[in-house]
Subunit: 357 residues, 2 copies
């Protein structure tokens, strides 16, 4: 830290992204990337833009927004595009939370929420999960003007809430914005986008990183009623009006055109998730019922960190969080069937279980 | 605005980017883009990454940072890469300015500075330019712990300060960070990067948008001593660790490899600037001595807004700022020689001067 660093940010502890080691080729099951490459049309669309990079990208993201509006069945003014969904979350925190509207989110969830809160110096309250790691929706009812943030499905647990509970939260908090972070929604959770028309306090955020194989392109978005989205545009135009670059904009649009390809990939990942969950359970693991492209698992036979290290030594990266309540677990991204079979065989080998069922 | 918009941002007026109309094909001389496309190697490098977009980009930007360090003759830990140079400016405002270290910048300069200040709720002071529109460096000496931001060359005037004056500002403000925004430095201004070793309070920001034909890719960077850059990484990792996407990272690296191509383009633009300046002067315009890829010009024969509108009606976009002191002027981006000849002929035509010398 330099002697110039603002005291405003004294308490700031940055987010730690999943490791990207370069010492060897790993099977990367640690950052929830898709094992499937973008579709050929996406690659082509992005490449075509590369020749026009001397020109700024369209700050209105018009072509992309119009296609997204069509796919999601909403009006174009109800969507804002951002440089990854981290950006729309940060914009929403800036726009809708402050001392009078402090943040509330689960104590175990996406690690960036407290970081954004600290960065923007917004007070926040973390509500413990239930013992089974689920989010108890009753904890989020009637919170006055507080700003509520819930990842649905939640990370790193992978558990989801039914839409009826989210609706109840929106309904009982008319004076606070309810942000539903749907980064993993395409792997089996019902989206809250269908509630937008009825709740002016609901903001749904999603990303192209996971289900649409564009983690490396950086594209996320927010959906809400036009007035809410207009506020996010105000913040966007006060931060980085050209936040989405030309290539990513074209790639995102092409990915929406090829929606079927991506939704089929999601189904394959859900199949591989079922396989992985069953195989880990047969090895004695406790595996939460994931609705995401990862599973969260622990075993009485091996510590979380020990397993993480043993897997890494054998060329497989998973994500371990050295935090209270969850340090026995590992978060394992669902890859191809072949990758998951290798994972299972390797875990069995580590456990000395030479005959996994 | 929604009823949820935070009162913190009551005074926020977003930046207005240059218009990007789609009603017809214009000669675009309004957003300071390069008229030259990226080099073939850049297009190829970006396109190659498009096939790997399912994987996150490297949050350390290692390959790009190492190449940039080599080109700029600095250590890799002295550079931070961002999603356009707007982002590094915003990060620097967050990291180094606050109530105790208010911002100081010229009253006529890049319009984003007051926006970033409002967004981050940092008090700021705007110092008037001298009558000839130059920045009087004496106004910036001995300001205690204030955070100073100077665009050099300045926008939209195009005028630059000598390095000796910047050094004097750094020297007399040891307890405040001095941010020198060098977005246009490659068009004839001496960079302050050479001062970095001697001043721990100096941050230099640059962009790939103008001189390196990558406006649509979004890539900027900051250079300073390692401790200062570490603070910017802290903010970056608290905002968007994957702020630079894969394709842009590859494009940026390739652009640095092809540095000669881009520096030759800059020389061509400087020649076209000399032509444009002389031709406008011969039409009776007052044209400031630009060191950028634009000129700032006014004429007693026609109002700034009138000329802007007349040019637009004839298919040429320039930038007019409806602000006190500068509303007689237009900012005209320097394009190809052919574009500038068309501009000059069109201006002459508008003035009814059928025989421009």
């Amino acid at each position: 830290m330099s002697r110039f660093f603002s005291h405003r940010l004294d308490k700031l502890t940055p987010y730690t992204p999943g490791e990207q080691p370069r010492d060897m080729q790993y099977i990367k099951l640690n950052t929830n990337e898709s094992p499937f490459p973008p579709s050929p049309a996406v690659v082509q669309a992005a490449a075509k833009e590369a020749g026009k990079l001397q020109l700024y990208s369209d700050p209105t993201c018009r072509d992309l927004v119009e296609k997204a509006a069509e796919v999601f069945g909403i009006a174009p003014e109800c969507i804002v595009m951002t440089n990854g969904s981290d950006e729309v979350l940060n914009f929403a925190f800036m726009a809708f939370a402050d001392e009078a509207h402090p943040l509330v989110f689960p104590a175990i969830t996406y690690g960036f929420y407290p970081v954004f809160a600290e960065l923007n110096r917004i007070p926040y309250e973390e509500i413990p999960l239930a013992e089974d790691f689920s989010v108890n929706y009753r904890d989020y009812l009637n919170l006055g003007g507080k700003t509520i943030v819930i990842a649905n499905p939640n990370a790193p647990t992978g558990l989801c809430m039914p839409l009826s509970e989210i609706e109840e939260i929106c309904k009982t908090n008319p004076d606070g914005v309810v942000i539903i972070d749907e980064a993993y929604v395409d792997f089996g959770t019902e989206s809250a986008v269908s509630l937008i028309d009825n709740y002016d306090n609901l903001l749904v955020t999603q990303t192209f990183s996971k289900s649409r194989s564009l983690a490396g392109a950086r594209l996320g978005f927010g959906i809400g009623q036009a007035a809410l989205i207009a506020d996010l545009h105000t913040v966007r135009y006060s931060t980085n009006p050209y936040n989405v670059n030309r290539m990513t904009m074209a790639a995102g649009r092409a990915a929406l055109v090829d929606n079927d390809y991506y939704m089929q990939n999601c189904r394959t990942i859900m199949e591989n998730r079922a396989y992985t969950t069953a195989a880990l359970r047969s090895l004695g693991f406790e595996v939460l019922d994931s609705k995401t492209n990862f599973v969260f698992a622990k075993s009485d036979r091996i510590g979380g960190e020990t397993l993480y290290k043993a897997l890494k030594a054998r060329g497989i990266l998973v994500r371990h969080f050295d935090k209270p309540l969850i340090r026995d677990y590992n978060r394992i991204t669902i890859g191809t069937r072949e990758q998951m079979e290798t994972l299972i065989a390797t875990v069995a080998d580590i456990l000395g279980d030479t005959n996994p069922s």
